[in-house]
Amino acid sequence: MAASQGREPAIELINVTRRFVSPTGKSLTALADFNMTVERGEFVAVVGPTGCGKSTTLNLVTGLARPSAGEVRLMGGPVNGIDPRVGFAFQKDALFPWKNVIDNVMAGPLFRGRSRSEAEKSAKDWLARVGLSKFLHHYPHQLSGGMRKRVALAQTFINEPEILLMDEPFSALDVQTRTVMHEELLKLWAERQASVVFVTHDLEEAVALADKVYVLTAGPATVESGYRIDLPRPRVVSEIRYEQAFIDYCKTIWEDLRQEVETSYRRASEAA
């Protein structure tokens, strides 16, 4: 990326190891000597077999968890606690069910000490962008799954994160809604040019959205391989999947991923 030359990458994980120790003292290694770099403005997708430590990677970047060894750097600096430049999109619904749509979106700015009127103005602006201006005073339970995801995106984007982490954000949606959300996300991303790490187990989703796809090994996770996806932007997610280049990328990466999935599956059935 020309724009990022001469600047520190947005995210660097350098030889990171993350161990979990259970209350009884047993240790489990989720990540081992993990190395990954995300350039500024780059959209990176991470795929890997289930339970391989994808979510752990994201938690290390948010500062919610610390590495057992190695180093995590954001914009060239070390991670100290939760970084205000980071936004996070959850797999599950993490909206506050007791707040209506606009109060949910206003939460971020209010937490950060901005005035109510300012927060309200900017929340209305973001809700208009995700097409929910008519639902300001609805509660989350009154919305469909897709609408709730859009509220969640507005809630995350209103803080204008420079680094956006997404943990299988659309996996609970039906296929049509998911495609709509992909376009929505790419549109928002194109306006802001944040650096994105998008974790998913859906390879086609990864290839359709990302500049770069990392394949992780079955746990403890290390980067098995990285692929640059040179599909032109702006992309139309609903149509891109029929293009030959897209299919070729999927085939190549799947060869890699399949081995890891099989390893992980074999281990799980051995353990059972």
Partner: protein, 289 residues
């Protein structure tokens, strides 16, 4: 009767308004049937009691009868009790119960949330709380009365301990059940520890806390009345105690009816408040009661 949502068996060409009208009529009929049976059962039970007492199937001296209970209530209301005005006695019990209820639940919520948010404190104190919680609260009545005397303070203290542990346990559990992703979301959005507690933990513990408030008002009344049994000058418990001493069955039942009515009224008010506070919660799609 069971299936209200299915509008089966309509002739083709029936309009939506007709179907809706029919469905509404059916819901109304169902409500009326429920109400009818509720009243019918009450009348039947009271009638049986009255009849059994009149026919001497049961001894009216010990079991009284609904008419005797009503007569006693009327007498109390109009002429006062042996211990002074009925309303004054009721007021005394309510005052004890309410003060105990309010202070007990506030303390329970504060301590429950405090310990729920702090792993270290809860690890240290959990053993003490378990130990104190295993004491049947009513055995404290004589001690409180010995220390604080026959007046208000001893009953409030008993109502307080009755309420505190129920509310505390629920508030604590409610805090522990708060969704981890929701907390992580708030923290990443920029919330401080206190903001997380205020905007995520407390609201999500609220339904647990309210569940405990419903039962604990009844507990506060128990505390006040048991305290009055053990030693008091006024109050409903004292009325029951005197009625017992004079073998006045009607008097005892009359006092029980009074307490029942008051507790039901408090429960109703609490439900109203809860529904106002919990308007974000999904409604049941069809009202079946």
């Amino acid at each position: 009767m069971t299936d209200i949502t299915m509008a089966a068996g309509y002739r083709p060409g029936t309009s939506d308004t007709e179907i809706e009208a029919a469905a509404q009529a059916r819901i109304r009929r169902r409500k009326q049937t429920v109400l009818f049976w509720q009243i019918a059962i009450l009348v039947l039970l009271l009638g049986l009691w009255e009849l059994a007492s009149d026919m001497n199937w049961i001894d009216p001296f010990f079991y009284a009868s609904p008419s005797a209970v009503v007569a006693r209530l009327q007498d109390w209301a109009l002429n006062g009790t042996t211990e002074g005005s009925l309303w004054y006695n009721l007021g005394v019990t309510m005052e004890e119960a309410l003060i105990g209820f309010v202070t007990g639940s506030v303390a329970g919520v504060v301590v429950g949330i405090g310990l729920g948010r702090n792993q270290m404190l809860s690890d240290i104190f959990s053993v003490y709380i378990k130990a104190v919680n295993s004491i049947p609260r009513v055995v404290l009545a004589p001690i409180f009365i010995m220390i604080m005397g026959l007046g208000l303070a001893s009953k409030v203290a008993l109502a307080f301990v009755m309420v505190f542990f129920v509310v505390f346990a629920n508030a604590f559990q409610g805090v522990r059940e708060a969704d981890r992703d929701m907390i992580a979301n708030a923290r990443i959005l920029g919330a401080s520890n206190w903001q997380v507690t205020r905007t995520v933990v407390i609201p999500s513990a609220m339904s647990w806390i309210f569940a405990s408030l419903h039962v604990s008002f009844g507990f506060a009344i128990i505390g006040a009345i048991v305290g009055e049994f053990v030693g008091a000058r006024f109050g409903i418990g004292q009325l029951i105690s005197i009625a017992k001493g004079t073998f006045d069955a009607a008097g005892m039942f009359a006092a029980i009816v009074l307490v029942m009515v008051v507790t039901l009224a408090a429960e109703y008010v609490m439900t109203l408040i809860e529904n106002r506070l919990a308007k974000w919660r999904p409604q049941q799609s069809l009202d079946t009661h």
